[in-house]
Symmetry: C2
Subunit: 662 residues, 2 copies
């Protein structure tokens, strides 16, 4: 790279590019298509453009974000950046200039287009029966004839007045505040009891209903649902990038980081816990503002967590080595009840944390969350559930039996490893239509309602393509004959949009011209991108097909797409692209963040925890790669929608001559 | 105080005095009778005389150990004192000079006459059945058909190979090391299981038997018994001054410290835990040296603790406020199973800690320890157990019923608040005989076998009087007619030893002349000292008598004296002094540190924990001060041996005319 240029990567968006040295970081972010907040127009008077310069080698980006790769500290920055933040690497984006290769982290508060994390809580039916319940008891004072301990008098009162067992355990932290709360409440206490077994908290007087937190830890995103345990209502949904993204985008690179760094596991765990604690503060602040009263960490008296097996192990600091190689055995499968304090999670000091069970190495607690939310094991109809995050997890079954498996989709379906791929943030193309005659393109971007055809080009502000936009694009291009059954661009198509990149020689299709983009370049999908999508969708398709074969199912009654990806998905185009075997279009539905829903259910209904344990034990795990024809099946599934399998339900949707392509 | 003098207090001995400014601290210690190690004769070349200068106000000593009250730092000190130690206030005693009032702490390593802490472990009968047992199990590897978690395979192996329940809990800390230990042991694990309920540790291969630690936390002294859980043997007994002594010598002053200081409870608890951690390191080093292999904190897999209620609350950071006022209710009475890590105690990270139950505000877990060691509730004979530490606890009963009570003895019987009182360290008078004719004195000092009558005077090196010496002295003086029944010196006695102090005008009796002392002064017992002993012994006597009345007992079959005090006690003189009601001399026995024995039993035999819980629940607590004639009884008990009660068993021991004094 020429000395006058520098390579720069912006996290968490993952956008990267080459910029001239000497420009400000905010200018660099603009050139690369990352929006940093700059209310004052870079006059150094608003302090909104704080970024953190990461220092060190980042092999996965091929970058050395060395010391001295950014211009020297200016006194004007101290007005907005505390000494502590400065020590952590924070700078003002409008002051600091690029002096070498850089990895720059843009905190949520500095992002102009706040990320749209589609992990909003769905309305789900919940039988409210939380693990932690609040009881009110009147405690008799001690007297000289019976100078029994405060704890014993509390137990007696709970037994006599609330019908609880007389031998309740009591957490040390509850014991510590008991006398002061007794004095405050003049003998009346609100008592927080976990599973009718353990006293975890006491508050003098009537006390408030406790809060609970369900946390769905994804490889990329963490979602937290702060709930009122008395009503089951979600008070606030907070979300956050998983701070571990800096150790690698997928689970395998996180496991490698553990294998290659002495303190790697502890470091990743600490970062994750710090992230969860930030999420907790965000949720409390958000719910507190909405509810008009201040909420505190101690108000959260119970917590449920779901995540994939790798996140599970990293959170708990369980050695993930065995997850990285055959037979991919986890350290623990059963759900675990832990003290949140043992993990450093800053909620009520005696609160327990329930982490849902794992099923197998690559089918984790998040999949169990999906299962208890969708309950296929209680269904008469044959359900196929596809949960696509950074990995793909598949569930197939009904009341007679359930099979689960995991498929290596890679992150392409989330928009990663795609030339112009980005997360579902403002400026991302999320819907695409391609005219079969003219091959002209219409599209919609996140954060703007009117489609391109109804807008002046310069108002579109396109920055890239998100996961659903990518699948839409390949489905439409195939349907329009621009992409052939085998995934190659059809050279016979005459369109200025279909061209060869002069630098790389790789064929590409223009979705949005530079005039419609905010990044001063055409936004394209390349032949390489399409190959990535083919690999990903073939993995899902093959998994579904092999599982159906195992259960003797010719067609599922229902196909449920879970995860953020599912929310934005066009179900017709998903079938056109061949993400799963043929089925009636009306059988396909999106079920949102089902893992998060399941986690919320486990938080609010203790019976769902038992159901989770039972489900995790009873489902059959299927290791797809052990099927003898796995590779063959995978190859056949690369084609659109499939090399051999018929798709009768696409009749009338995709032109016959295209569907019948050899 | 004249400007040229300074007031100086040496801790933990508690010795104090006035010394001229400008002398070295080692010189000051010598004048006051505290021995600091000085191998090199103060040539500043051995570094053995390290002391710590405490800085701040110490109201209980009426002293302000201000900055600048010691001479400036000398470079020669840095040869022996690290920067860290220097920051903590350490100085060389042969370099630093007194420049003002000072509180000086002499670490154990700098004490010339190492303290004799009589908490050595007695040989007691133990049914070995520890809470933590080690099992060896062979864990099946995971395979692709059954990729179950390591934890589940471990549970299955324990169930199939060791007959344990299949649903054992597993501590997070054990889970964290499980995969690495499985690899190390190639599938064979030593598994440490608590109460057949919880897996707390795993070690690859065969593993070593675990260690256990029983800790008896006294107000003044902490004793730790490091035991081999496989044999029950005591590997090492370590002891330490309770670091809380700096907050006050008795439990009431510790409770006051909590009431008067925001962070007082936490500070005392932290100091105590730091002390316990030092004790642990001492015990491991001692046992390791003796056994020829290094022992580590992680080797200690179980711990039992007994202590009085105040120490119990301070250790656990339970609010001790209610212990300080009627009806003296503790926060918790039941025994508690805690994670040692939650207290910051540095043993195995998953180890549990069992703290014995309390009975009432002033009858704590230490008394329960005494009870399970002596088991009066299983005895046919009527036993009276007297445990004298800084407080007195009394137990009376047999299999038909047991009563306990607490009496406010104050620390006089331990040698504190006595003019020349000191702990049972070398140079302390521990045995005394007074000739009834000549009133001449013979005595023995700790650390020297020949009595005074067989030694050259200058070899005695007397420094003071310890608890047993004090009781011996008053018993002998009474028997010899030097002290009258009412405790006053008999003015009719003509002896150069009985004199009036020219400064204070208080009458005193010389036990050792300056020529026999290492402190260049006569060692005396004063009229005030005798009053202190009268108050203390009357409290014990009254307690015994009121309890006997409650149970309708005219004379106990056995009188057991527990504690360090009991070990050194002359049982005849204890009866002569009237420490307890009349009984045959042969019925009196010393049972050593029974509380520590009980704690060790609870560590090594889990059934003893159940017995402790039962005993604590079933005994009757008697609040002595509620008896209507308590004050009257107390006054009558001030006399030697008692104002009214007959002592037929002293016939022939004490001359008739003295016993019959009005």
């Amino acid at each position: 790279m020429a000395r006058e240029n520098a390579f720069i990567v912006f996290q968490p968006a993952g956008r990267r590019g080459v910029v001239p040295r000497g420009i400000t970081i905010i200018e660099a972010s603009r050139r690369i298509g990352v929006d940093i907040e700059a209310l004052c127009g870079e006059s150094q008077v608003c302090g909104k453009c704080k970024v953190r310069i990461e220092s060190g080698r980042y092999d996965k980006f091929g970058i050395d974000s060395g010391p001295g790769h950014v211009s020297a500290w200016q006194e004007s920055e101290s007005k907005y950046i505390t000494a502590e933040e400065r020590a952590a690497g924070y700078r003002l984006g409008c002051v600091a200039r690029v002096a070498g290769d850089l990895l720059v982290y843009v905190p949520e508060t500095s992002r102009a287009g706040k990320q749209v994390v589609s992990k909003a809580a769905r309305a789900i039916a919940i039988d409210l029966n939380p693990a932690v319940r609040v009881y009110t008891a009147k405690i008799a004072p001690a007297d000289l004839d019976h100078p029994t301990g405060a704890a014993e008098r509390l137990r007696e009162a709970l037994s006599a007045q609330c019908g609880l067992k007389g031998d309740l355990a009591i957490d040390l932290m509850a014991l510590r505040i008991l006398p002061a709360e007794l004095r405050k409440g003049q003998g009346t206490l609100a008592v927080y009891i976990w599973m009718d077994r353990e006293i975890i908290g006491v508050t003098g007087g009537e006390g408030l209903p406790g809060l609970g937190l369900a946390v769905d830890i994804g490889t990329t995103t963490i979602a937290g649902y702060l709930c009122d345990l008395a009503t089951g209502k979600v008070l606030y949904t907070a979300s956050l990038m998983n701070p571990q993204v800096k150790y690698g985008e997928d689970v395998i690179s996180r496991i490698s980081y553990h294998l290659n760094h002495e303190e790697g596991l502890r470091r990743m765990s600490r970062d994750l816990v710090a992230g969860i604690n930030r999420l907790i503060d965000d949720a409390l602040a958000g719910a507190g503002n909405a509810g008009g009263r201040a909420l505190f960490r101690e108000d959260i008296v119970d917590m449920a967590v779901c995540c994939n097996t790798a996140m599970h192990h990293i959170l708990l600091q369980l050695d993930p080595t065995d997850l990285g190689s055959m037979p991919f055995a986890p350290v623990a499968r059963q759900g675990l009840d832990l003290k949140a304090r043992d993990l450093g999670i800053a909620i009520h000091p005696a609160a327990n944390l329930y982490i849902l069970p794992n099923i197998a190495g690559f089918v984790g607690a998040d999949n169990v969350g999906v299962m208890i939310a969708e309950a296929p094991y209680a269904s008469d109809t044959m359900e196929l559930i596809i949960d696509i995050g950074t990995n793909g997890e598949l569930v197939l079954g009904n009341a007679r039996g359930v099979v689960v498996s995991s498929c290596a989709t890679g992150p392409a379906l989330e928009g990663a490893q795609i030339e112009f791929g980005m997360r579902a943030a403002p400026g991302a193309i999320e819907r695409v239509r391609v005219d079969p005659e003219t091959h002209e393109v219409d599209y919609k971007v996140v954060g703007r309602n009117p489609w391109r055809s109804f807008s002046p080009p310069e108002e579109m502000g396109v920055k890239g393509i998100c996961g659903s936009g990518v699948l839409d694009t390949v489905g439409e291009l195939y349907k329009a004959g621009v992409v052939k059954k085998d995934g190659a661009f059809n050279k016979a198509v005459q369109s200025p949009r279909l061209r060869e990149n002069p630098d790389t020689g790789i064929r590409e299709f223009v979705l949005a011209w530079a005039a419609e983009a905010s990044i001063e370049r055409d936004v394209v999908i390349t032949q390489k991108d399409i190959r990535q999508i083919q690999l990903a969708k073939a993995a899902v398709y093959t998994g579904c097909k092999l599982m159906m074969r195992r259960l003797g199912v010719t067609m599922p009654d229902k196909v449920k797409i879970a995860g953020a990806f599912g929310t934005h998905l066009d179900r017709t185009l998903a079938l056109v692209a061949g993400l799963f075997p043929d089925c009636p279009l009306e059988a396909i539905e999106s079920v949102g963040n089902a893992a998060g829903d399941g986690c919320r259910l486990a938080l609010l209904d203790r019976r769902k925890r038992k159901e989770a344990e039972r489900a995790a034990r009873r489902v059959e795990y299927m290791e797809l790669t052990l099927e003898t024809d796995f590779q063959e099946q995978l190859l056949d599934a690369l084609a659109f929608p499939h090399q051999k399998d018929p798709f009768p339900h696409l009749a009338g949707v995709v032109p016959d001559e295209i569907l019948r392509q050899p």
